[in-house]
């Protein structure tokens, strides 16, 4: 469960019904959106990876507090004179770590419970589906508190783990729905009739078609993990000892940064979050276009004219193969 009001993104459900074409594994075409998304995401990633090595100690306090951007502190200081830029670098690394852990775990858990269950059918599907539904309704917030009570210091890993545990079920449902409709496709039935082994059908016939959907689920999981972590932090339940965008915002908010005019403290973490989320969304647009070829750059106006460019013709041919 994430703390955002938006639970399941309609884009996912939208994708569920899209016609998959068989064994198409082309890379997404490079569009402006994708280029911007990759560049932005890459830059933030780089900042998170390298930033902490070149900035000061983020916890180092100074006798002067809450000063604006200056030569010695490019993004100013917090209430206790800590360097905001250094905190931002460490926070970027922290938030990205949360995102990465949740992304991987969501991929594994949702693929296992969604795809395998739906493909196996019968009681396995029933049990997996039941489990998924139960996980979907467990409130994540108290779970964070319960789990953290066994660990004295709530680390990033712990928060990420909890976010994955409470977050994978939605993806699993989407994947299950999609797999259910895949396994009744003619070509799957055909290979079953032809006597192919079950695991082979799963890995060779079904999984490749699921890759784009899996990718988009992971991207969403990463966005929601980072946002979820920020939400938990805002409520004071996040990874307390470490730096993330969420904990930075939490301290800024606690220090009444906005009301005291300390925009350099309050705005950067939120902006970083927004930019990274936007980058991932832009990448997701391109993935969507693979899942659903109809979303590609063919417009109605073009089709209404009953004309097709050479390129489009080639694409149509390719799709027909």
């Amino acid at each position: 469960m994430t703390l955002t009001t938006q639970a399941a993104d309609p884009a996912d459900t939208g994708a569920t019904l899209a016609e998959p074409s068989r064994r198409r594994r082309s890379l997404p075409p490079m569009s402006t959106k994708l280029a911007i998304g990759l560049t932005l995401g890459g830059l933030i990633l780089l900042f998170g990876l390298l930033g902490p090595y070149v900035t000061q100690d983020p916890s180092l306090v100074h006798d002067y507090g809450l000063t604006g951007p200056s030569g010695s502190h490019w993004l100013g200081t917090t209430q206790t004179g800590q360097d905001v830029l250094a905190q931002l670098a460490h926070a970027t690394r922290g938030s990205l770590t949360v995102g990465a852990i949740v992304g991987v775990l969501t991929l594994l858990l949702s693929a296992f419970f969604g795809v395998v269950g739906a493909y196996a059918g019968g009681w396995v599907d029933e049990v997996f589906s039941l489990f998924t539904n139960v996980m979907l309704v467990i409130p994540g917030l108290p779970l964070v508190i319960v789990i953290s009570s066994y660990v004295p210091d709530k680390s990033l890993w712990l928060v990420a783990l909890v976010l994955s545990i409470t977050g994978w079920a939605g993806s699993a449902r989407v994947l299950r729905g999609y797999t259910l409709s895949l396994r009744n496709r003619d070509y799957v039935i055909a290979s079953r009739v032809a006597g192919e082994k079950r695991w082979r059908i799963l890995t060779v016939e079904i999984l490749p078609n699921l890759i784009p959907l899996l990718a988009s689920q992971v991207v969403f999981a990463v966005i929601f993990a980072i946002l979820g972590e920020a939400g938990l932090s805002y409520l004071g339940l996040g990874a307390s000892g470490s730096f993330t965008w969420g904990t930075m915002l939490y301290y800024a908010q606690n220090g009444l940064a906005l009301r005291l005019g300390a925009w350099w403290w309050f705005v950067p973490p939120g902006l970083m979050l927004a930019l990274f989320g936007a980058a991932l969304s832009l990448i997701n647009f391109s993935i969507d276009e693979i899942i659903n070829p109809k979303l590609r750059n063919q417009t109605r106006a073009a089709r209404r004219g009953w004309r097709m460019s050479r390129q489009q013709l080639a694409k149509a041919k390719e799709a027909g193969l």
Binding site: M1, L3, T4, T5, Q6, A7, A8, P10, A11, D12, T13, G14, A15, T16, L17, A18, K33, S129, L130, N133, V134, L136, V137, I138, P139, G140, L141, P142, I145, V146, S149, G177, S181, N184, L227, A230, G231, Y234, L235, G246, L249, Q253, L258, R259, G270, L273, A274, F276, G277, A278, S281, L282, N292, K294, L295, T299, R300, A301, R303, R304
Partner: protein, 329 residues
């Protein structure tokens, strides 16, 4: 019919499992409610060590029942609608606190979700119908709002529209200074006025998702053969857009909407914290910080029921929309 019964049975089992988990979670939490109440009391005024005994006598704690009998009692109480007594708000029963707070949450967040859905689907329909138009190009921008942390956006808007330009009220569910709660016009107007900014922030941060989903489904649907046929027949474009394309394209969004309705209660926590809104989310936060088992369980139950109900609805909808998911190999 058999299919329907199977589904309902399935959800009953899920409900049981969820209810059991709800029973276990609070009992694993650190701290004893007596200790917590004592220390809270100590913050307000001096207490002596002996106070513990009187608090224990008050809460009926100290008699250590085995977990199993607590569990059966819990299930029995659930069935009879008795959710127990809250410790944080002692001696108020949990049901009365839920009764007091739930309408605010459903009113604000439920309504905002609905508005967001209607607006998003409407704009998505137009964007998908006219691909490449300005509205279509706006979609990446609206999705960006979705990646902005909700509370960050809300705090900035609240600061700008509440403090710098005092257009909207700063906190609360209605004007407590001059309005008496009840079914009177002044109160209802005040509620709407106080709810506008919170609702606006929710809509702003969630409308993009609906828009994108609907737009993509519109685009997919528009390439179906039956739409070509409809256009070839020379039907009016408006009719083709609404009756042929949008009607089919909206189905997955509706199921998504049902799911998001289930998360109204869970998603309310942050909104209510930012706007000091008197809903069930703030009650849950209070319950968590006070180790109030009974209240937490009561609120979890509300969350569980709403999520399960919404999912049941989606499942039933899906078997109507896509018969392929109904047939079993």
């Amino acid at each position: 019919m058999r299919h329907l019964f199977r589904k309902i049975g399935f959800y009953l089992v899920a409900l049981w499992a969820a209810v059991t988990v709800n029973f276990i979670i609070p009992r694993l939490m650190p701290g004893d409610p007596v200790d917590i109440l004592l220390s809270k009391l100590g913050q307000r005024g001096p207490v002596t060590p002996e106070t513990r005994k009187s608090i224990e006598a008050l809460l009926g704690a100290g008699t250590h029942q085995p977990l199993w009998s607590q569990y059966t009692e819990y299930l029995h109480n659930l069935v009879t609608g008795d959710l127990g007594v809250s410790v944080t708000f002692f001696p108020a029963p949990v049901t009365s606190i839920i009764e007091q707070t739930l309408p605010w949450t459903i009113g604000l967040i439920g309504l905002a979700t609905l508005i967001s859905f209607v607006v998003g689907v409407g704009l998505g329909t137009l964007a998908g119908w006219k691909r490449g138009s300005w509205l279509d190009n706006l979609i990446p921008v609206t999705t960006m709002f979705q990646s902005v942390p909700y509370f960050w956006l809300a705090l900035i808007l609240l600061f700008a529209l509440g403090s710098i330009w005092p257009v909207f009220p700063l906190n609360g569910g209605y004007d407590v200074y001059s309005v008496t709660p009840g079914w009177n016009g002044a109160f209802l107007r005040s509620v709407v006025y106080y709810g506008t900014l919170p609702a606006l922030t929710i809509i702003l941060s969630s409308v993009g998702g609906w828009m994108l989903g609907m737009r993509n489904m519109m685009v997919s649907t528009l390439s179906e053969d039956y739409l070509l046929t409809a256009e070839a027949k020379g039907l009016r474009p408006g009719r083709v857009m609404l009756r042929y394309a949008a009607r089919n394209a909206v189905l997955p969004s509706i199921s998504g909407f049902a799911i998001s309705l289930g998360f109204v209660v869970a998603g309310s926590i942050v909104t209510e914290a930012v706007f000091s809104y008197p809903g069930i989310g703030s009650a849950l936060l209070q319950a968590v910080s006070g180790n109030d088992y009974a209240l937490m369980q009561g609120i979890f139950l509300v969350i569980t029921l709403s999520v399960l109900g919404a999912n049941l609805l989606v499942d039933l909808l899906y078997s109507v929309i896509d018969p392929r998911t109904r047939t079993r190999g």
